[in-house]
Amino acid sequence: MAEVLVYVDHVDGAVRKPTLELLTLARRVGEPVAVALGNGAGDTAATLAEHGAVKVLTHEAAEYADYLVVPKVDALQAAVEAVSPAAVLVPSSAEGKEIAARLALRIGSGIITDAVDLEAGDEGPVATQSAFAASYTTKSRVSKGTPVITVKPNSAAVEAAPAAGAVEALAVTFSDQATGTKVTGRTPRESTGRPELTEAAIVVSGGRGVNGADNFSIIEALADSLGAAVGASRAAVDAGWYPHTNQVGQTGKSVSPQLYIANGISGAIQHRAGMQTSKTIVAVNKDPEAPIFDLVDYGVVGDLFDVVPQLTDEVKTRKG
Protein backbone atom coordinates (compact mmCIF):
# COMPACT_ATOMS: atom_id res chain seq x y z
CA MET A 1 0.00 0.00 0.00
CA ALA A 2 1.20 3.53 -0.72
CA GLU A 3 2.73 5.53 2.09
CA VAL A 4 1.23 8.78 3.38
CA LEU A 5 3.38 11.35 5.15
CA VAL A 6 1.98 12.86 8.33
CA TYR A 7 3.68 15.96 9.73
CA VAL A 8 3.86 15.69 13.51
CA ASP A 9 2.91 18.67 15.65
CA HIS A 10 4.55 18.14 19.03
CA VAL A 11 5.93 20.12 21.94
CA ASP A 12 9.26 18.68 23.10
CA GLY A 13 8.14 15.18 22.18
CA ALA A 14 4.54 15.40 23.42
CA VAL A 15 2.35 14.79 20.35
CA ARG A 16 -0.64 17.10 20.04
CA LYS A 17 -4.05 15.56 19.46
CA PRO A 18 -4.66 16.84 15.87
CA THR A 19 -1.68 14.77 14.70
CA LEU A 20 -3.28 11.61 16.06
CA GLU A 21 -6.48 12.51 14.19
CA LEU A 22 -4.39 12.84 11.02
CA LEU A 23 -3.11 9.30 11.53
CA THR A 24 -6.73 8.08 11.54
CA LEU A 25 -7.38 9.88 8.23
CA ALA A 26 -4.04 8.83 6.74
CA ARG A 27 -4.91 5.17 7.26
CA ARG A 28 -7.88 5.62 4.92
CA VAL A 29 -5.52 6.60 2.12
CA GLY A 30 -2.40 4.54 2.79
CA GLU A 31 0.23 3.59 5.35
CA PRO A 32 1.08 6.47 7.67
CA VAL A 33 4.73 7.51 7.85
CA ALA A 34 5.21 10.25 10.46
CA VAL A 35 7.76 13.06 10.23
CA ALA A 36 8.82 14.50 13.59
CA LEU A 37 11.26 17.41 13.75
CA GLY A 38 13.14 19.34 16.39
CA ASN A 39 13.72 18.91 20.08
CA GLY A 40 12.19 15.68 21.40
CA ALA A 41 11.38 14.32 17.92
CA GLY A 42 12.51 10.81 18.91
CA ASP A 43 10.19 10.79 21.93
CA THR A 44 7.11 10.97 19.73
CA ALA A 45 7.58 7.47 18.28
CA ALA A 46 5.75 5.39 20.90
CA THR A 47 2.55 7.45 20.72
CA LEU A 48 2.66 7.61 16.93
CA ALA A 49 3.16 3.83 16.68
CA GLU A 50 0.17 3.24 18.93
CA HIS A 51 -1.97 5.23 16.50
CA GLY A 52 -0.85 3.64 13.26
CA ALA A 53 2.51 5.06 12.17
CA VAL A 54 4.45 2.31 10.40
CA LYS A 55 7.56 4.47 10.39
CA VAL A 56 8.66 7.62 12.18
CA LEU A 57 11.23 9.77 10.39
CA THR A 58 13.00 12.04 12.85
CA HIS A 59 15.50 14.87 12.69
CA GLU A 60 16.63 17.05 15.55
CA ALA A 61 18.40 20.36 14.89
CA ALA A 62 18.45 23.79 16.53
CA GLU A 63 17.30 25.39 13.26
CA TYR A 64 13.71 24.21 13.77
CA ALA A 65 13.30 26.42 16.82
CA ASP A 66 15.67 29.21 15.85
CA TYR A 67 14.25 30.06 12.43
CA LEU A 68 10.71 30.42 11.08
CA VAL A 69 8.96 27.80 8.92
CA VAL A 70 11.58 27.20 6.18
CA PRO A 71 13.74 24.58 8.00
CA LYS A 72 10.61 22.49 8.44
CA VAL A 73 9.79 22.86 4.74
CA ASP A 74 13.30 21.68 3.87
CA ALA A 75 12.86 18.60 6.08
CA LEU A 76 9.43 17.73 4.76
CA GLN A 77 10.71 18.07 1.22
CA ALA A 78 13.54 15.66 2.07
CA ALA A 79 10.95 13.24 3.46
CA VAL A 80 8.84 13.49 0.29
CA GLU A 81 11.90 12.75 -1.82
CA ALA A 82 12.87 9.78 0.38
CA VAL A 83 9.40 8.22 0.57
CA SER A 84 7.55 9.27 -2.64
CA PRO A 85 4.26 9.29 -0.70
CA ALA A 86 0.73 9.19 -2.09
CA ALA A 87 -0.14 12.30 -0.05
CA VAL A 88 1.20 14.62 2.64
CA LEU A 89 -1.04 15.53 5.58
CA VAL A 90 -0.30 18.49 7.86
CA PRO A 91 -2.30 19.81 10.84
CA SER A 92 -4.12 23.05 9.91
CA SER A 93 -2.45 25.41 12.33
CA ALA A 94 -1.27 28.80 11.05
CA GLU A 95 2.26 27.43 10.82
CA GLY A 96 1.11 24.09 9.40
CA LYS A 97 -0.60 25.83 6.50
CA GLU A 98 2.49 27.90 5.72
CA ILE A 99 4.74 24.84 5.79
CA ALA A 100 2.33 22.89 3.58
CA ALA A 101 1.97 25.71 1.04
CA ARG A 102 5.71 26.19 0.56
CA LEU A 103 6.22 22.44 0.34
CA ALA A 104 3.48 22.11 -2.30
CA LEU A 105 4.99 24.86 -4.43
CA ARG A 106 8.45 23.30 -4.22
CA ILE A 107 7.37 19.83 -5.20
CA GLY A 108 5.01 21.14 -7.90
CA SER A 109 1.85 19.94 -6.18
CA GLY A 110 -1.56 21.35 -5.48
CA ILE A 111 -2.58 22.19 -1.93
CA ILE A 112 -5.87 21.96 -0.05
CA THR A 113 -6.14 23.69 3.32
CA ASP A 114 -8.53 23.33 6.26
CA ALA A 115 -10.04 20.00 5.26
CA VAL A 116 -12.63 18.71 7.72
CA ASP A 117 -12.75 15.19 6.28
CA LEU A 118 -10.77 13.00 3.91
CA GLU A 119 -11.67 9.90 1.90
CA ALA A 120 -9.85 7.77 -0.64
CA GLY A 121 -11.00 8.45 -4.23
CA ASP A 122 -10.31 7.08 -7.70
CA GLU A 123 -8.19 10.09 -8.55
CA GLY A 124 -6.53 10.49 -5.16
CA PRO A 125 -7.78 11.64 -1.75
CA VAL A 126 -10.98 13.70 -1.70
CA ALA A 127 -11.06 16.47 0.90
CA THR A 128 -14.18 18.00 2.40
CA GLN A 129 -13.95 21.70 3.26
CA SER A 130 -16.29 24.37 4.56
CA ALA A 131 -16.61 27.64 2.63
CA PHE A 132 -18.14 31.08 3.23
CA ALA A 133 -18.31 30.85 7.00
CA ALA A 134 -19.36 27.20 6.76
CA SER A 135 -22.50 27.96 4.75
CA TYR A 136 -21.16 25.65 2.00
CA THR A 137 -19.48 22.26 1.98
CA THR A 138 -17.11 21.54 -0.89
CA LYS A 139 -15.35 18.40 -2.06
CA SER A 140 -12.00 18.90 -3.74
CA ARG A 141 -8.93 17.04 -4.79
CA VAL A 142 -5.44 17.85 -5.89
CA SER A 143 -5.09 17.46 -9.65
CA LYS A 144 -1.33 17.91 -9.95
CA GLY A 145 1.55 16.24 -8.12
CA THR A 146 1.48 14.70 -4.65
CA PRO A 147 -1.58 15.99 -2.79
CA VAL A 148 -0.64 18.23 0.15
CA ILE A 149 -3.59 18.60 2.49
CA THR A 150 -3.94 20.40 5.80
CA VAL A 151 -6.64 19.14 8.15
CA LYS A 152 -8.46 21.02 10.89
CA PRO A 153 -8.49 19.77 14.47
CA ASN A 154 -11.48 17.64 15.51
CA SER A 155 -11.98 16.33 11.96
CA ALA A 156 -11.63 12.67 12.91
CA ALA A 157 -11.60 10.46 15.97
CA VAL A 158 -8.33 9.42 17.55
CA GLU A 159 -8.10 5.63 17.13
CA ALA A 160 -5.72 3.08 18.56
CA ALA A 161 -4.16 1.09 15.69
CA PRO A 162 -0.87 -0.39 16.80
CA ALA A 163 1.84 -0.40 14.11
CA ALA A 164 5.60 -0.84 14.00
CA GLY A 165 6.52 2.84 14.35
CA ALA A 166 10.12 2.10 13.41
CA VAL A 167 12.27 5.16 14.00
CA GLU A 168 14.51 6.20 11.11
CA ALA A 169 16.80 9.22 10.94
CA LEU A 170 15.81 11.63 8.18
CA ALA A 171 18.72 13.21 6.29
CA VAL A 172 18.09 16.94 5.89
CA THR A 173 20.19 19.57 4.15
CA PHE A 174 18.97 23.06 4.95
CA SER A 175 18.41 25.46 2.05
CA ASP A 176 19.85 28.97 1.78
CA GLN A 177 16.45 30.34 2.78
CA ALA A 178 16.33 28.30 6.00
CA THR A 179 18.01 30.93 8.16
CA GLY A 180 16.23 33.92 6.61
CA THR A 181 13.89 34.72 9.48
CA LYS A 182 15.40 34.48 12.94
CA VAL A 183 13.36 33.80 16.06
CA THR A 184 15.07 36.13 18.53
CA GLY A 185 12.74 35.53 21.46
CA ARG A 186 9.99 33.20 22.52
CA THR A 187 7.47 33.54 25.34
CA PRO A 188 5.55 30.30 25.81
CA ARG A 189 1.86 30.76 26.39
CA GLU A 190 0.92 30.16 30.00
CA SER A 191 -1.15 27.06 30.54
CA THR A 192 -4.59 27.67 32.01
CA GLY A 193 -5.06 24.02 32.90
CA ARG A 194 -8.14 23.98 30.64
CA PRO A 195 -8.38 21.94 27.44
CA GLU A 196 -6.90 23.39 24.26
CA LEU A 197 -9.57 25.55 22.55
CA THR A 198 -9.35 23.87 19.12
CA GLU A 199 -9.20 20.37 20.60
CA ALA A 200 -11.85 20.61 23.32
CA ALA A 201 -15.03 18.54 23.21
CA ILE A 202 -16.93 21.42 24.82
CA VAL A 203 -16.34 25.17 24.37
CA VAL A 204 -18.00 27.83 26.51
CA SER A 205 -17.70 31.34 25.01
CA GLY A 206 -18.44 34.85 26.18
CA GLY A 207 -19.07 37.99 24.14
CA ARG A 208 -19.79 41.66 24.62
CA GLY A 209 -22.73 40.71 26.81
CA VAL A 210 -20.29 39.52 29.50
CA ASN A 211 -19.55 43.19 30.01
CA GLY A 212 -16.15 43.21 31.67
CA ALA A 213 -12.97 41.20 32.26
CA ASP A 214 -13.92 40.29 35.83
CA ASN A 215 -17.27 38.91 34.72
CA PHE A 216 -15.49 36.32 32.60
CA SER A 217 -15.14 34.35 35.85
CA ILE A 218 -18.82 33.39 35.32
CA ILE A 219 -17.94 31.93 31.91
CA GLU A 220 -14.86 30.18 33.31
CA ALA A 221 -16.89 28.67 36.16
CA LEU A 222 -19.35 27.15 33.69
CA ALA A 223 -16.48 25.92 31.52
CA ASP A 224 -14.76 24.29 34.50
CA SER A 225 -17.96 22.57 35.62
CA LEU A 226 -18.14 20.94 32.17
CA GLY A 227 -14.40 20.40 31.66
CA ALA A 228 -14.61 22.81 28.73
CA ALA A 229 -12.31 25.31 27.02
CA VAL A 230 -13.13 29.04 27.16
CA GLY A 231 -13.69 31.06 24.00
CA ALA A 232 -14.46 34.72 23.35
CA SER A 233 -15.90 36.88 20.58
CA ARG A 234 -13.74 39.54 18.99
CA ALA A 235 -15.78 42.22 20.73
CA ALA A 236 -14.75 40.74 24.09
CA VAL A 237 -11.13 40.39 22.97
CA ASP A 238 -10.94 43.91 21.52
CA ALA A 239 -12.33 45.27 24.78
CA GLY A 240 -9.38 43.62 26.52
CA TRP A 241 -11.54 41.28 28.61
CA TYR A 242 -10.01 38.05 27.36
CA PRO A 243 -6.80 37.09 25.49
CA HIS A 244 -6.74 36.96 21.71
CA THR A 245 -5.55 33.34 21.82
CA ASN A 246 -9.09 32.50 22.95
CA GLN A 247 -10.87 34.33 20.14
CA VAL A 248 -13.27 32.20 18.12
CA GLY A 249 -14.01 33.19 14.55
CA GLN A 250 -12.59 34.13 11.21
CA THR A 251 -9.52 35.85 12.63
CA GLY A 252 -9.30 33.70 15.72
CA LYS A 253 -9.60 29.97 16.23
CA SER A 254 -11.93 27.79 14.29
CA VAL A 255 -13.55 25.26 16.61
CA SER A 256 -15.71 22.24 15.94
CA PRO A 257 -16.55 20.76 19.34
CA GLN A 258 -19.36 18.40 20.31
CA LEU A 259 -20.96 21.27 22.24
CA TYR A 260 -20.59 25.05 21.85
CA ILE A 261 -22.22 27.36 24.38
CA ALA A 262 -22.38 31.04 23.30
CA ASN A 263 -23.11 33.54 26.05
CA GLY A 264 -23.82 37.20 25.25
CA ILE A 265 -22.70 36.70 21.64
CA SER A 266 -24.86 38.04 18.81
CA GLY A 267 -23.68 35.56 16.15
CA ALA A 268 -22.03 37.82 13.54
CA ILE A 269 -20.94 36.07 10.33
CA GLN A 270 -17.26 36.32 11.31
CA HIS A 271 -17.96 34.62 14.63
CA ARG A 272 -20.08 31.94 12.98
CA ALA A 273 -17.19 31.21 10.61
CA GLY A 274 -15.31 29.83 13.58
CA MET A 275 -18.00 27.76 15.31
CA GLN A 276 -20.78 26.93 12.84
CA THR A 277 -19.60 23.33 12.37
CA SER A 278 -19.97 22.54 16.09
CA LYS A 279 -22.20 19.47 16.58
CA THR A 280 -24.55 20.94 19.17
CA ILE A 281 -24.94 24.69 19.66
CA VAL A 282 -26.51 26.37 22.66
CA ALA A 283 -26.89 30.10 23.32
CA VAL A 284 -27.86 32.43 26.11
CA ASN A 285 -28.76 35.92 24.92
CA LYS A 286 -31.21 38.51 26.17
CA ASP A 287 -32.19 39.57 22.65
CA PRO A 288 -34.68 37.10 21.11
CA GLU A 289 -33.78 38.50 17.66
CA ALA A 290 -30.05 37.74 17.97
CA PRO A 291 -28.88 35.85 14.85
CA ILE A 292 -27.12 33.26 17.03
CA PHE A 293 -30.57 31.77 17.74
CA ASP A 294 -30.78 30.73 14.06
CA LEU A 295 -28.00 28.24 14.72
CA VAL A 296 -28.94 26.80 18.06
CA ASP A 297 -30.23 23.43 19.08
CA TYR A 298 -31.30 25.00 22.35
CA GLY A 299 -31.48 28.68 23.26
CA VAL A 300 -32.39 30.60 26.35
CA VAL A 301 -33.63 34.17 25.95
CA GLY A 302 -32.50 35.75 29.15
CA ASP A 303 -29.84 37.59 31.12
CA LEU A 304 -26.64 35.58 31.20
CA PHE A 305 -25.92 36.84 34.73
CA ASP A 306 -29.01 34.88 35.88
CA VAL A 307 -28.92 31.91 33.52
CA VAL A 308 -25.23 31.00 33.47
CA PRO A 309 -24.62 30.76 37.24
CA GLN A 310 -27.83 28.75 37.63
CA LEU A 311 -26.67 26.41 34.88
CA THR A 312 -23.24 26.04 36.50
CA ASP A 313 -24.83 25.15 39.87
CA GLU A 314 -27.14 22.66 38.23
CA VAL A 315 -24.27 21.01 36.31
CA LYS A 316 -22.30 20.69 39.55
CA THR A 317 -25.28 19.21 41.39
CA ARG A 318 -25.97 16.70 38.66
CA LYS A 319 -22.34 15.68 38.43
CA GLY A 320 -22.39 15.26 42.22
Binding site: L68, A94, A101, T113, D114, Y136, R186, T251, V296, R318
Partner: protein
Protein backbone atom coordinates in the same frame (compact mmCIF):
# COMPACT_ATOMS: atom_id res chain seq x y z
CA UNK B 1 17.48 55.32 -1.07
CA UNK B 2 13.77 55.24 -0.87
CA UNK B 3 12.06 52.31 0.88
CA UNK B 4 9.79 50.63 -1.66
CA UNK B 5 6.77 49.01 -0.02
CA UNK B 6 4.30 46.96 -2.04
CA UNK B 7 1.02 46.05 -0.34
CA UNK B 8 -0.93 43.15 -1.85
CA UNK B 9 -4.68 43.62 -1.53
CA UNK B 10 -7.69 41.60 -2.58
CA UNK B 11 -11.12 42.63 -3.74
CA UNK B 12 -13.60 40.26 -2.11
CA UNK B 13 -17.36 39.74 -1.91
CA UNK B 14 -18.84 41.37 1.18
CA UNK B 15 -18.92 38.74 3.95
CA UNK B 16 -22.23 40.06 5.23
CA UNK B 17 -23.83 39.44 1.82
CA UNK B 18 -25.22 36.13 0.61
CA UNK B 19 -22.01 34.63 -0.79
CA UNK B 20 -22.23 31.62 -3.06
CA UNK B 21 -20.53 29.67 -5.81
CA UNK B 22 -21.04 30.21 -9.56
CA UNK B 23 -21.82 27.31 -11.93
CA UNK B 24 -18.12 26.64 -12.54
CA UNK B 25 -17.62 26.41 -8.74
CA UNK B 26 -15.61 29.62 -8.54
CA UNK B 27 -16.66 32.39 -6.15
CA UNK B 28 -19.69 34.19 -7.59
CA UNK B 29 -18.74 37.84 -7.81
CA UNK B 30 -21.84 39.11 -9.57
CA UNK B 31 -24.53 38.96 -6.92
CA UNK B 32 -22.70 40.32 -3.90
CA UNK B 33 -21.08 43.74 -3.54
CA UNK B 34 -17.31 43.70 -3.49
CA UNK B 35 -14.88 45.61 -1.32
CA UNK B 36 -11.27 45.80 -0.18
CA UNK B 37 -10.80 42.79 2.13
CA UNK B 38 -10.96 44.19 5.68
CA UNK B 39 -7.94 42.09 6.58
CA UNK B 40 -5.90 43.89 3.90
CA UNK B 41 -6.77 47.26 5.42
CA UNK B 42 -4.49 46.27 8.29
CA UNK B 43 -1.68 45.69 5.78
CA UNK B 44 -2.24 49.10 4.17
CA UNK B 45 -2.25 50.69 7.63
CA UNK B 46 1.06 49.12 8.69
CA UNK B 47 2.62 50.05 5.33
CA UNK B 48 1.58 53.67 5.82
CA UNK B 49 2.95 53.74 9.36
CA UNK B 50 6.27 52.22 8.28
CA UNK B 51 6.44 54.73 5.42
CA UNK B 52 5.72 57.62 7.79
CA UNK B 53 8.55 56.49 10.08
CA UNK B 54 11.01 56.14 7.20
CA UNK B 55 12.86 59.14 5.77
CA UNK B 56 11.80 58.38 2.28
CA UNK B 57 9.34 55.69 1.30
CA UNK B 58 6.82 54.88 -1.37
CA UNK B 59 3.75 52.70 -0.88
CA UNK B 60 2.35 50.87 -3.91
CA UNK B 61 -0.85 48.83 -3.64
CA UNK B 62 -1.12 45.83 -5.91
CA UNK B 63 -4.17 43.76 -6.74
CA UNK B 64 -4.86 40.89 -9.09
CA UNK B 65 -8.52 40.76 -9.98
CA UNK B 66 -11.40 41.76 -12.25
CA UNK B 67 -12.24 45.29 -13.40
CA UNK B 68 -14.17 46.10 -10.22
CA UNK B 69 -11.08 45.36 -8.14
CA UNK B 70 -10.08 48.97 -8.91
CA UNK B 71 -12.46 49.91 -6.07
CA UNK B 72 -10.15 48.15 -3.63
CA UNK B 73 -7.16 50.07 -5.00
CA UNK B 74 -9.04 53.39 -4.72
CA UNK B 75 -9.85 52.68 -1.10
CA UNK B 76 -6.18 51.95 -0.35
CA UNK B 77 -5.10 55.09 -2.24
CA UNK B 78 -7.59 57.19 -0.31
CA UNK B 79 -6.14 55.80 2.93
CA UNK B 80 -2.81 57.25 1.77
CA UNK B 81 -0.96 54.84 -0.53
CA UNK B 82 1.01 56.60 -3.28
CA UNK B 83 0.22 54.55 -6.36
CA UNK B 84 -1.51 51.42 -7.52
CA UNK B 85 -1.04 48.51 -9.88
CA UNK B 86 -3.96 46.49 -11.21
CA UNK B 87 -3.21 43.14 -12.80
CA UNK B 88 -6.20 42.22 -14.90
CA UNK B 89 -6.64 39.55 -17.54
CA UNK B 90 -9.59 37.42 -18.64
CA UNK B 91 -7.40 34.34 -18.34
CA UNK B 92 -7.10 34.90 -14.59
CA UNK B 93 -10.62 33.67 -13.84
CA UNK B 94 -10.51 30.71 -11.45
CA UNK B 95 -6.83 31.04 -10.51
CA UNK B 96 -5.94 29.22 -7.26
CA UNK B 97 -3.55 30.33 -4.49
CA UNK B 98 -0.51 28.80 -6.19
CA UNK B 99 -1.32 30.64 -9.44
CA UNK B 100 -2.12 33.89 -7.66
CA UNK B 101 1.23 33.78 -5.90
CA UNK B 102 2.93 33.42 -9.30
CA UNK B 103 1.19 36.48 -10.72
CA UNK B 104 1.83 38.50 -7.55
CA UNK B 105 5.51 37.49 -7.49
CA UNK B 106 6.03 38.57 -11.09
CA UNK B 107 4.20 41.83 -10.50
CA UNK B 108 6.10 42.60 -7.29
CA UNK B 109 9.39 41.96 -9.08
CA UNK B 110 8.43 44.16 -11.99
CA UNK B 111 7.33 46.95 -9.63
CA UNK B 112 10.53 46.72 -7.58
CA UNK B 113 10.35 46.24 -3.81
CA UNK B 114 12.16 46.19 -0.49
CA UNK B 115 9.18 45.10 1.54
CA UNK B 116 5.95 43.32 0.63
CA UNK B 117 3.10 43.56 3.14
CA UNK B 118 -0.01 41.36 2.97
CA UNK B 119 -3.04 40.78 5.15
CA UNK B 120 -3.22 37.57 7.20
CA UNK B 121 -5.74 35.91 4.85
CA UNK B 122 -8.46 36.88 2.42
CA UNK B 123 -11.95 37.06 3.85
CA UNK B 124 -13.35 34.87 1.05
CA UNK B 125 -10.79 32.13 0.38
CA UNK B 126 -9.39 32.30 3.95
CA UNK B 127 -6.43 30.02 3.19
CA UNK B 128 -3.82 32.42 4.55
CA UNK B 129 -1.01 30.92 2.47
CA UNK B 130 -0.32 33.54 -0.20
CA UNK B 131 2.32 35.47 1.84
CA UNK B 132 4.28 32.25 2.49
CA UNK B 133 4.00 31.28 -1.19
CA UNK B 134 5.12 34.74 -2.24
CA UNK B 135 8.20 34.51 0.00
CA UNK B 136 9.01 31.08 -1.42
CA UNK B 137 8.70 32.35 -4.99
CA UNK B 138 10.69 35.53 -4.39
CA UNK B 139 13.34 33.69 -2.37
CA UNK B 140 13.22 36.24 0.44
CA UNK B 141 12.50 35.88 4.18
CA UNK B 142 8.92 35.27 5.30
CA UNK B 143 7.99 37.31 8.40
CA UNK B 144 4.32 36.48 8.70
CA UNK B 145 1.27 36.78 10.95
CA UNK B 146 2.68 39.71 12.87
CA UNK B 147 0.64 41.55 15.46
CA UNK B 148 3.42 44.14 15.74
CA UNK B 149 5.86 45.22 13.04
CA UNK B 150 8.65 47.75 12.59
CA UNK B 151 11.39 48.46 10.07
CA UNK B 152 14.74 49.98 10.87
CA UNK B 153 18.10 50.05 9.07
CA UNK B 154 17.12 47.46 6.50
CA UNK B 155 15.78 45.04 9.12
CA UNK B 156 12.17 44.10 9.75
CA UNK B 157 11.17 43.03 13.25
CA UNK B 158 7.88 41.81 14.57
CA UNK B 159 5.90 39.74 17.01
CA UNK B 160 4.11 36.59 15.95
CA UNK B 161 1.55 35.28 18.42
CA UNK B 162 1.38 31.57 17.78
CA UNK B 163 -0.59 28.79 19.41
CA UNK B 164 2.15 27.64 21.72
CA UNK B 165 4.20 30.79 22.10
CA UNK B 166 4.61 34.41 21.17
CA UNK B 167 7.74 34.82 19.06
CA UNK B 168 9.96 37.80 18.26
CA UNK B 169 11.10 37.64 14.63
CA UNK B 170 13.80 39.41 12.68
CA UNK B 171 14.88 39.40 9.03
CA UNK B 172 16.83 41.51 6.59
CA UNK B 173 15.08 43.29 3.73
CA UNK B 174 13.90 42.50 1.15
CA UNK B 175 11.21 40.45 2.89
CA UNK B 176 7.56 39.46 2.79
CA UNK B 177 5.50 40.42 5.83
CA UNK B 178 1.89 39.65 6.73
CA UNK B 179 0.01 41.35 9.54
CA UNK B 180 -2.99 40.23 11.60
CA UNK B 181 -6.05 42.18 12.70
CA UNK B 182 -4.29 42.64 16.05
CA UNK B 183 -1.70 44.93 14.45
CA UNK B 184 -3.74 48.11 14.96
CA UNK B 185 -6.97 49.68 13.67
CA UNK B 186 -6.84 50.80 10.07
CA UNK B 187 -7.42 54.50 9.45
CA UNK B 188 -10.53 55.80 7.69
CA UNK B 189 -9.91 57.68 4.47
CA UNK B 190 -10.26 61.44 5.04
CA UNK B 191 -12.20 63.64 2.63
CA UNK B 192 -8.87 65.06 1.50
CA UNK B 193 -7.54 61.53 1.04
CA UNK B 194 -10.51 60.56 -1.09
CA UNK B 195 -10.08 63.61 -3.32
CA UNK B 196 -6.31 63.08 -3.63
CA UNK B 197 -6.80 59.40 -4.53
CA UNK B 198 -8.61 60.40 -7.70
CA UNK B 199 -5.41 61.90 -9.05
CA UNK B 200 -3.06 59.11 -8.03
CA UNK B 201 -1.67 56.83 -10.77
CA UNK B 202 -3.20 53.38 -11.32
CA UNK B 203 -1.24 51.24 -13.74
CA UNK B 204 -2.89 48.31 -15.51
CA UNK B 205 -0.86 45.24 -16.41
CA UNK B 206 -1.94 42.05 -18.11
CA UNK B 207 -0.33 38.61 -18.14
CA UNK B 208 1.71 39.51 -21.22
CA UNK B 209 3.34 42.35 -19.27
CA UNK B 210 4.35 39.83 -16.61
CA UNK B 211 5.52 36.96 -18.84
CA UNK B 212 2.99 34.62 -17.28
CA UNK B 213 1.66 31.83 -19.49
CA UNK B 214 -2.11 31.42 -19.60
CA UNK B 215 -1.60 27.66 -18.92
CA UNK B 216 -0.06 28.42 -15.55
CA UNK B 217 -3.12 30.18 -14.18
CA UNK B 218 -6.91 30.24 -14.40
CA UNK B 219 -9.29 27.38 -13.72
CA UNK B 220 -7.46 25.08 -16.17
CA UNK B 221 -4.05 25.85 -14.71
CA UNK B 222 -5.19 25.25 -11.12
CA UNK B 223 -3.46 22.40 -9.30
CA UNK B 224 -6.59 21.60 -7.32
CA UNK B 225 -10.08 20.83 -8.48
CA UNK B 226 -13.37 21.49 -6.72
CA UNK B 227 -15.70 18.60 -7.59
CA UNK B 228 -18.79 19.84 -5.78
CA UNK B 229 -20.09 22.64 -3.60
CA UNK B 230 -23.29 22.10 -1.67
CA UNK B 231 -25.11 24.54 0.51
CA UNK B 232 -25.03 23.36 4.08
CA UNK B 233 -28.57 22.47 5.08
CA UNK B 234 -29.94 25.10 7.43
CA UNK B 235 -29.67 23.81 10.97
CA UNK B 236 -33.01 22.42 12.08
CA UNK B 237 -34.74 24.99 14.21
CA UNK B 238 -33.90 24.41 17.83
CA UNK B 239 -35.92 24.89 20.98
CA UNK B 240 -35.90 28.44 22.31
CA UNK B 241 -37.16 29.14 25.79
CA UNK B 242 -37.58 32.41 27.63
CA UNK B 243 -35.96 32.57 31.03
CA UNK B 244 -38.67 32.87 33.66
CA UNK B 245 -36.31 32.08 36.49
CA UNK B 246 -35.62 28.48 35.52
CA UNK B 247 -33.65 29.06 32.27
CA UNK B 248 -30.37 27.69 33.63
CA UNK B 249 -32.07 24.57 34.95
CA UNK B 250 -33.90 24.02 31.66
CA UNK B 251 -30.62 24.32 29.81
CA UNK B 252 -29.05 21.81 32.18
CA UNK B 253 -31.93 19.45 31.49
CA UNK B 254 -31.28 19.77 27.75
CA UNK B 255 -27.55 19.14 28.19
CA UNK B 256 -28.30 16.08 30.32
CA UNK B 257 -30.71 14.76 27.69
CA UNK B 258 -27.87 15.06 25.15
CA UNK B 259 -25.51 13.23 27.55
CA UNK B 260 -23.21 16.22 28.07
CA UNK B 261 -23.71 16.00 31.82
Amino acid sequence: MSLRIVVTVKYVPDATGDRHFADDLTVDRDDVDGLLSELDEYAVEQALQIAEDADDAEVTVLTVGPEDAKDALRKALSMGADKAIHVEDDDLHGTDAIGTSLVLAKAVEKAGYDLVISGMASTDGTMGVVPALLAERLGVPQVTLLSEVSVEDGTVKGRRDGDAASEQLEASLPAVVSVTDQSGEARYPSFKGIMAAKKKPVESWDLGDLDVDAEEIGLEGAWTKVDSATERPARTAGTIVKDEGEGGKQLAEFLASQKFI
